[in-house]
Symmetry: C2
Subunit: 304 residues, 2 copies
Amino acid sequence: MLVRSFVPAHITAFFAPVFHDDPLKTGSLGAGINLAKGTNVFASIETGTLERHVHIAFNGEPVKREEAVISYSVAEKLVPEDFLGEVEIWQYFDFPNGYGFGNSAGGALGTALALGYRFGGTWLRAAQVAHEAEVKHRGGLGDVIAQLAGGIEVRVKPGGPGIGVVDNLFFEDYKVLVVPLGKLSTREVLDGDVVKTIEVEGRNALKALLKEPTPERMIALARNFAEKTGLLSGELLELARELDKVISTPSSMIMLGKGLFALVRGREVEGIRATLSDLGVPYDIVEIYEGKPRVERWFEGGPK
Amino acid sequence: MLVRSFVPAHITAFFAPVFHDDPLKTGSLGAGINLAKGTNVFASIETGTLERHVHIAFNGEPVKREEAVISYSVAEKLVPEDFLGEVEIWQYFDFPNGYGFGNSAGGALGTALALGYRFGGTWLRAAQVAHEAEVKHRGGLGDVIAQLAGGIEVRVKPGGPGIGVVDNLFFEDYKVLVVPLGKLSTREVLDGDVVKTIEVEGRNALKALLKEPTPERMIALARNFAEKTGLLSGELLELARELDKVISTPSSMIMLGKGLFALVRGREVEGIRATLSDLGVPYDIVEIYEGKPRVERWFEGGPK
């Protein structure tokens, strides 16, 4: 059987981590955006072998256990211990790993949904397994629950699926400009001194956003958060200022990746493309993804 | 400005009401299915008059305040007190009112989302206002939160949006057969003696479903619930038994309406149509709606 799942890429705009002994109560407060590109997972499950095998591949290349700790951990939990057969999990990412697009959570959740679909359980159980693996192995704190919510999301109560609460902003006619320039380790940032400033500024930004819950306010608060925490500085900040000149709302920094994002109006897209080509940076303009992740049986050539 | 929203019809399979002084903690446990047909709301908001007017129409016909208490209550909360202008809310229902398709919640949530989109706030705020109006005026207890979840849903923790928790079942290739035959008053059932049996049987069904969370198990538990509570009896039960002969899973009763529903495989649809025409009952075969309700700006002739 072949199962396909899709999980949107998720960009965090601002956040405050919330730690707890219970991984399901660990999570984050904050806000972010889900994109119509993201992670596609194809899970091939075949019975008839004498052993239980699980293999994972990123973008068509098999990866070792230590390079895919989170997804292997999810698979080990959701493939029954007494299952005899081959489970191959092919994860395809529309954005590069480590750049702040929630690929780690996308792979974990996409894997969990595909395996849940095949082996039983529910959406909540699958999502909780993905969240727990993310938290335990420090992939991220809020991506899974944000990806489940879709749209422009606001994490108003921290925690994993079933515990945390995610709200959504209304928006009209926005697409998302992304400028992915490089990696930033979530783990290193969360282990550094800056985490205290992040906690304070993230909570302040959330409080301010809930007073005026609009996308325009969200992106302005994100920029303020990025600068106040010092995460956005140097050349990246200079580039953000260049982008500001051609977009009606501020640009901000992808949390956590070396990259920028901005909300752009449908009608602004052509003008922005021209300017960005001049700046010579890689970029993409992507639709916002509303709704839930998808999971379905897959047949050669597409769904039936 | 014209805003359009869509909220899926929601059929409850089984339930246990949970009452509380706080409407947001009032809700239900249970399971149900969201359909690709449902309630479409068009909200027309025009400024420039000297007074604040709110008008509501069902299927093109203006309705009095006392005939649309829930939706008027939602509108009064979400149209700002100092707004001067005309608010017209046109609700169109794909299924008849009172037949157990969650029209009341669909109208309330669709109205709340459309007004939130225009006047500000968030999805959660809009959904909570809709839930509170439903609970206060006894339209329903679990429809709003179920409609937000989409798919085949399981209410595992009672309460309104932000408080209650809704899970989803995985499913493959099912459509929903509905046989709508007449009205049943939610209010009268909830005020009757049967509510005690409903509370016990609803919780038992939920417990059993979570042990084996599949659509097939859900529909079997729904049928058992419908018969044990005595809600499904007489001619309706006889008709259910007729349906059982041509469908691989049991049929069950729409909670709460005089009607039946069943899960049918895509490949079974043609055969079922033939049999149902012979039975001479009204029916429809509808897709399951996954994902969240929709809200968007609407322009003459469709979305931009």
